[in-house]
């Protein structure tokens, strides 16, 4: 009984900060909208009306899926006090190589899918591992090394890879107009429309709910139980919290740094799967920026799986809504970026505030309890 009550109380206090952040962000955005001469009520109601459509919800989920995975990738690093800025480069490179390998081979479906996922994770892990190894051997801070690795990936390796591996052979020169060789149907994840339609009407307008959602859920569950409940997770958190105490407790700090980077990179490798497993190719112009968005997701979600889920949905909602604002003309689409920034800012402040409020409340409760005993 009391356990349930305490769990409920924890949920209440845990949710307080993000809710405060959201309220603040909405209020502040309203001011921005007013100053810009738009009607905030109109803008919000357009966004919500739009989002309540089944097809838009599919869009939101499709968008939230890679954001969530990227958020978990960043969160793994944060748990170990590592700032893996490199999720961006890791996922793009991983998706490119995985798409290429997936396009080369012909295998039965489960094997083909497994191979693509495995290649993506390995490439992400290896690329991120470089930063880990540089940190423990040369003392290079991971922020520096991952920024460099991002640059090398996005402006070097990926361009070169796209040229070398584009479908139908090289077009000659430096032209990269098409993506990689399309992956066989056996290597693509089926969409989840059939599953959704059990509960809803048919999904229209060619919307497909990405099958990678299943992968994302698996990643989220694995992260939650492994970090929270396993021995490895304990070691990871301990090493992140106090590397000296962890070291005398038998947790080698250097190995932990490399392991955390490798795992973070492996998860990052899955971020691009929505792109290549739905479309079947690594396109000439892939979606970028998911890695950086993932950092915001981890931050807002406080490195927890549930938190990252909520954060990913909020960011996806805002991303998708920016289009409708453009269409209805009720506000400029940039307001969405402003809101995303405001939410992150507000979240950081709100976590501080609720933390203090909780300590105060507990102290008051203790004092009343003691007074009752004394009298």
């Amino acid at each position: 009984m009391t356990r349930i009550a305490s769990v409920l109380r924890r949920i209440k206090t845990d949710a307080a900060a993000p809710v405060m952040a959201l309220v603040f962000a909405v209020a502040a955005s309203s001011v921005v909208l007013l100053v810009a001469g738009s009607n905030p009520i109109q803008a919000y109601s357009d966004m919500l009306k739009h989002a309540s459509k089944l097809e838009t919800m599919i869009d939101i989920l499709n968008r939230a899926t890679p954001l969530f995975i990227a958020g978990i990738a960043a969160a793994i690093g944060f748990r170990m006090n590592l700032f893996n800025i490199g999720v961006e480069g890791q996922y793009l490179l991983a998706a490119l190589v995985a798409a290429h390998v997936g396009g080369l081979v012909h295998l039965p479906a489960p094997l083909h899918i497994a191979l693509i996922l495995l290649v993506a994770m390995s490439v992400g892990a290896a690329y991120s591992g470089v930063a880990g190894v540089l940190k423990v051997t040369k003392g290079v801070h991971e922020v520096i090394s991952t920024i460099m690795l991002n640059a090398i990936a996005t402006s070097g390796l990926i361009v070169a890879g796209l040229q070398a591996w584009q479908a139908g052979g090289g077009l000659g020169g430096n032209v990269t107009r098409v993506g990689t060789t399309p992956i066989d149907e056996s290597g693509r994840l089926p969409n989840l429309n059939g599953f959704v339609e059990i509960f809803t009407r048919d999904i229209g307008r060619d919307r497909e709910l990405t099958g990678v959602l299943v992968v994302a859920i698996a990643v989220g569950v694995a992260y939650h139980v492994i970090v929270g409940r396993s021995r490895f997770g304990f070691d990871l958190r301990a090493s992140g919290a106090n590397p000296f105490a962890a070291h005398v407790g038998g947790i080698p700090p250097k190995r932990m740094i490399v392991t955390a980077m490798v795992l973070s990179g492996a998860v990052a490798g899955l971020v691009g799967m929505t792109e290549i497993m739905d479309g079947g190719v690594f396109p000439a112009n892939p979606i970028q920026g998911l890695g950086f968005a993932g950092i915001a997701v981890a931050l807002l979600g406080r490195n927890s799986a549930i938190g990252a889920l909520v954060a990913a949905l909020i960011f996806a909602f805002l991303d998708i809504s920016s289009g409708i604002l453009q269409n209805t003309g009720s506000a400029s689409r940039e307001i969405v970026q402003i809101m995303q920034g405001l939410i992150i800012l507000a979240a950081v402040v709100a976590y501080q505030v609720t933390e203090r409020a909780r300590a105060r409340e507990e102290a008051k409760a203790a004092a009343t309890a003691l007074a009752a005993v004394a009298s």
């Binding site: 396993s230 490895f232 105490a245 407790g249 080698p252 004092a367």
Partner: protein, 507 residues
């Protein structure tokens, strides 16, 4: 002249406890005022309030007769108050000089820091008070006693007139304590007012003019040091007599647990431990005496496995573990009480029940195979809490919320709970009050009788003599004497520790 400090009715609550309950404290100008009390009595909290680090919930403070209200330490510093904390607050990556001047940097035109002037001032201060430090050394490479010195210099450097010292002697050997006390008397002669916390009552009576005793958050008495004896003071604090550790008959067996041969450990290419040979058998306590910085810390690190060994071997239960990992060694049964509990012993923001597993997380009852065992962790934590009298509202509080002494008791309890075969204990009773200290000694003795082998590093010579079967003295990285505690006095030990006396290995 107005009192230097007057605290009236100070109350401070934390989750689950009232740390200060209407505390009154009056400190006269130019006196040395000791604050004593059990672990968790509220001493550090009161000092932090006076230093502006924490806000009192109720009460008024007066400094030099003026009512004040501090919101942050700089408010207190501006009024000439300086504090050396129970747990040091130095950043690893800074040099001694940088740490000292941090927050009060002398600047040149254009805002650049005037390092030359800073260095000169630092030299002046350390000269004046006989506190020697190397301004260019990294904090990271300092031992606890040296960090202590840096903290004190930092306060003096800023010209504090009212000094708060929270357990400054906890890790100092008697010579260093005397040195510190000489400095304090000098400061006092120059008009400074000093407030300090200490669990060693003999020290309190030696240095203090006045003593205020706190018990469970209340001030229960303020007495002139000249009017009380140590037993009376102990009575006031905990309501019990002053304990002395006295070893019962020897329980040493023939089974060798730890054998260290010709050990050499280097730091920056220079040996800090050389030619060290130690044997510890089941049921034996080997005490290591030495002034801080003579290689004890490196020796301990080498045995635990956190520092690479440059030469020699370490055998645990007959196996060579010289190149084995820390985890391997701990799974073979090494328990470890680190010299700096917050740095190496705790995850300060994690709850107690998670801290209980640290260092033992691969073993039952803390884990089962791949998974941690939450109920096992909680049960073990409750056992540690009750067996070692760890005062805490519950086991879900974060480790930082425990008072210093209770953190220490918790760590001792954690290491003893796993029934180690070898206990490596550095200052195991550091910061523990006299009552609880006796309990910890009893626990160590009982474990020894049951076959525990112990390497005991301590600055408390009575503790060393009382608990050890053999005492080795380390000086400049070498063992310079091997002594029988039954035949040695703290005075003799002191002579060996400073290198004033030597012993032929043959003797």
């Amino acid at each position: 002249m107005a009192r230097a400090i007057e605290l009236i009715g100070i109350t401070k609550r934390f989750p689950g406890v009232v740390a200060n309950d209407k505390v009154d404290l009056a400190v006269e100008q130019g006196e040395i005022h000791a604050v004593c009390g059990e672990n968790g009595a509220g001493k550090s909290t009161l000092m932090k309030i006076l230093y502006g680090m924490q806000n009192a919930d109720e009460g008024t403070m007066k400094v030099n007769g003026q009512e004040v209200r501090f919101h942050k330490p700089t408010d207190a510093i501006d009024l000439g108050i300086g504090m050396v904390h129970q747990h040091f607050m130095l950043a690893d990556q800074l040099t001694v000089l940088e740490s000292v001047i941090l927050g009060s940097e002398p600047t040149l035109a254009g805002g650049r820091i005037d390092f030359a002037a800073a260095k000169a001032h630092l030299a002046e201060v350390s000269q004046a008070y006989g506190l020697n430090v190397d301004p260019d050394q990294l904090i990271e490479s300092l031992e606890v006693g040296e960090r202590q010195r840096v903290e004190i210099i930092k306060v003096l450097y800023r010209g504090a007139k009212i000094l708060i010292l929270d357990e400054p002697t906890a890790v100092l050997v008697p010579q260093e304590v005397e040195e510190l006390f000489r400095n304090l008397r000098e400061l006092k002669a120059n008009g400074a007012t000093i407030l300090f916390i200490d669990h060693k009552l003999a020290e309190v009576l030696a240095i203090a003019d006045t003593v205020t005793v706190l018990r469970q958050g209340r001030s229960v008495a303020t007495v002139k040091a000249a009017d009380v004896t140590a037993p009376q003071l102990a009575e006031l604090m905990v309501g019990s007599e002053l304990p002395t550790p006295a070893t019962s008959e020897s329980t040493v067996t023939d089974d060798v647990v730890l054998q260290v041969r010709d050990l050499q450990i280097n730091e920056a290419g220079r040996p800090v431990v050389s030619d060290v040979n130690i044997v510890i058998r089941r049921g034996e306590v080997v005490g290591v005496a030495g002034v801080e910085g003579n290689g004890q810390a490196a020796l301990v690190d080498g045995i635990i496995g956190t520092r690479p060994v440059a030469g020699g071997t370490i055998e645990l239960l007959g196996d060579d573990v010289t190149r084995q990992s820390v985890r391997h060694r701990r799974e073979r049964g090494i328990g470890y009480i680190p010299q700096d509990r917050q740095r190496e012993g705790l995850l300060l923001l994690a709850p107690l029940w998670e801290n209980a597993a640290l260092g033992h997380q691969t073993q039952a009852p803390y884990s089962q195979g791949f998974w941690m065992n939450r109920s096992g962790m909680r049960t073990a934590t409750q056992e540690i809490r009750s067996e070692f009298d760890v005062r805490t509202p519950n086991i879900d509080v974060a480790a930082h919320a425990l008072s210093g002494g209770n953190q220490q008791k918790f760590i001792v309890g954690r290491e003893m709970h796993s029934q180690p075969t070898l206990l490596v204990a550095a200052h195991p009773t550091r910061g523990i009050d006299v009552g609880a200290q006796a309990a910890v000694w009893d626990q160590l003795k009982a474990a020894r009788a049951a076959g525990l082998a112990t390497l005991l590093v301590s600055a408390d010579l009575d503790e060393l003599i009382g608990l050890s079967d053999t005492i080795v003295v380390m000086f400049r990285g070498r063992i310079v004497a091997t002594l029988d505690p039954a035949k040695v006095t703290p005075r003799d030990l002191g002579a060996y520790m400073t290198g004033a006396a030597t012993q032929d290995d043959a003797a």
